[in-house]
């Protein structure tokens, strides 16, 4: 089977292995080369299958132990493409090791940019928001729904990328830029993201003031006045201020702690 001329050595089950192994993609993450070892782990069976000789295996392993970092759900796309290229190389084709490394390097930047904003920012925030709105009533379905809503599309993409990546090989890049799929996908998820954020600012950010004019029965609660102007007015203001602050690209942890300190201070003087 494996010696058939021109016949592909890589089977569907090899691609399934790539998918399964890539589940561990951030397991051995470190600061130095990040996801490099996971990348070699994912391609391990492919390297073993394509290169019977020790020297060739050593070459391939070293090539796949170079720096690597990518949104894990899209890792299979690169691994699929690389598998197609390694196969050509192993069969004596014109692809050199350098070309394979270059494809990896050139793919990880743009793919991570898209993957992080699509999955880790937009989709995670929207699905977690939906889950939280249910869990807030003490309902465990919130967590279940969050898990399913996030993972079904994310892991589906994760799987499809392994198959498509291999099928299209290095041609995929050209196709992606031709059809502008990524740009359109970003715009469409942006619509969902924006609407969900708008709703979540209203329902999940909660800022109210206990302040009142006058005292006793005559007291006019300021919160009541604010509510008549616009519901969730203080939440909108708080969000707008944080939006402005985050534009200065501060450390998120510092902002987080500052919000806590600010809240305690406002609580102490009775404003919030």
């Amino acid at each position: 089977m494996s010696s058939k001329e021109g016949g592909s050595k890589i089977t569907k089950s090899d691609l399934n292995k790539i998918f399964l192994r890539s589940m561990t993609f951030e397991g051995s993450w470190d600061y130095e080369r990040q996801m490099y070892l996971a990348n070699a782990f994912t391609l391990g069976p492919i390297i073993k299958k394509l290169y019977p000789l020790k020297e060739d295996r050593a070459d391939a392993l070293k090539r796949h132990l170079e720096f690597f970092n990518i949104t894990p759900y899209l890792a299979t796309l690169v691994c699929g493409i690389v598998t197609a290229m390694e196969e050509v190389k192993a069969n004596g084709g014109e692809i050199g090791g350098e070309a394979i490394s270059n494809v990896k390097t050139s793919l990880m930047g743009p793919l991570s940019g898209i993957g992080d904003s699509l999955f880790l920012t937009t989709w995670r925030t929207v699905t977690a928001g939906i889950g939280c709105s249910i869990a807030m009533q003490g309902n465990p379905l919130g967590a279940v729904l969050f898990f399913l809503l996030f993972n079904i599309p994310a892991q589906a993409v994760h799987y499809i990328c392994a198959i498509k990546g291999y099928e299209m090989g290095s041609k995929l890049l050209v196709k992606l830029s031709e059809t502008n799929i990524m740009k359109r996908l970003t715009r469409l998820t942006g619509v969902v993201g924006m609407m969900a954020v708008g709703a979540m600012i209203a329902s999940m950010v909660s800022v109210t003031t206990p302040l009142a004019f006058g005292s006793g029965d005559e007291a006019l609660a300021i919160q009541g006045v604010l509510d008549q102007i616009m519901p969730c007015l203080l939440s909108v203001i708080a969000t707008a201020v944080i939006y402005w602050v985050m534009g200065k690209k501060p450390n998120t942890a510092v902002v987080l702690v500052s919000i806590v300190v600010f809240s305690i201070a406002c609580s102490a003087v009775g404003i919030l």
Binding site: L120, T122, N151, G190, G198, C232, I242, G247
Partner: protein
């Protein structure tokens, strides 16, 4: 018994990066599991969701290491449940714990994991594929999952007896302040999302979402479904115009 449960939940949760980054690390999930384990599912859900919203902005994007939401989520929920405190107290505990957790995590990333991973280069030199793969597994478990879970378990074992006293000693205005913070913090998470996808053309949708929720009281899922409907309309419209253009170019239209 509860110490063992905390250890198991931590191992499960820190496996997030070993199991397809499937969000096992998020407080909404860990809080619910801790609630289940501690026999107070409803509180676990509520505290977990509150911590989730407060730490919404804490997610590793690219190479930056965020606060460790696992230790914060698990311990914040566990301590709040055993001391019968509210969700605000859970958030108050979760924030400093996740900051400390970030330090422990960086220790794994900078010292422990590279130390184990180093072996892989040697195996690669000899063309030993299995050796490289084995290193990855050892590193994932003993360089990350186990040490991290041990930290959470130790913090629980040491903290549980004193936590009740600590929470009771916090002055009223600070406790109220933390509840206020729990109300504001979700905005940070939403802002991070806004900053990523903000585009002037998308601004109307932000307003639509706000009005649907603030004035019409629609739940998030309802708003998201309307958004999904709008997306479908846009796709159909795109397709119509794409067909008109590509009919002459003879292109195949496979889109996501």
């Amino acid at each position: 018994m509860d110490i063992l449960l905390i250890f198991l939940i931590s191992c499960f949760s820190y496996s997030n990066w070993f199991l397809g980054k499937s969000m096992l690390d998020r407080p909404l999930i860990t809080g619910t599991i801790v609630g289940l384990a501690f026999g107070d599912l409803a509180s676990g859900c509520i505290i977990g969701a509150t911590i989730e919203l407060a730490l919404m902005g804490a997610q590793g994007i690219g190479a930056a290491a965020p606060p460790d939401v696992i230790s914060g989520g698990i311990l914040g929920t566990a301590f709040a449940i055993i001391s019968h405190s509210d969700a605000g107290a859970g958030v108050a505990l979760a924030i400093p714990i996740s900051m400390l957790g970030m330090v422990i995590r960086n220790f794994c990333y900078i010292v422990l994991i590279p130390l184990i991973n180093r072996a892989a280069d040697g195996y690669a030199e000899r063309g030993d594929v299995d050796g490289v793969c084995r290193t990855h597994l050892i590193s994932s478990f003993f360089g990350f999952i186990i040490p991290q879970a041990l930290y959470v378990t130790a913090a629980y074992a040491l903290g549980a007896p004193v936590m009740e006293g600590v929470l009771a000693a916090i002055p009223e205005f600070v406790q109220h302040g933390l509840t206020v913070a729990a109300g504001i913090l979700p905005a940070l998470g939403f802002v991070i999302l806004l900053r990523t996808i903000m585009d002037r053309k998308l601004l109307p949708y932000l307003i639509f979402g706000f009005v649907l929720s603030a004035y019409l009281g629609l739940p998030i899922l309802g708003v998201s479904l309307i958004a999904a409907g709008i997306v479908l309309l846009m796709v159909f419209k795109d397709r119509e115009s794409a067909v008109a253009v590509t009919a002459s170019v003879e292109g195949d239209d496979d889109e996501f």
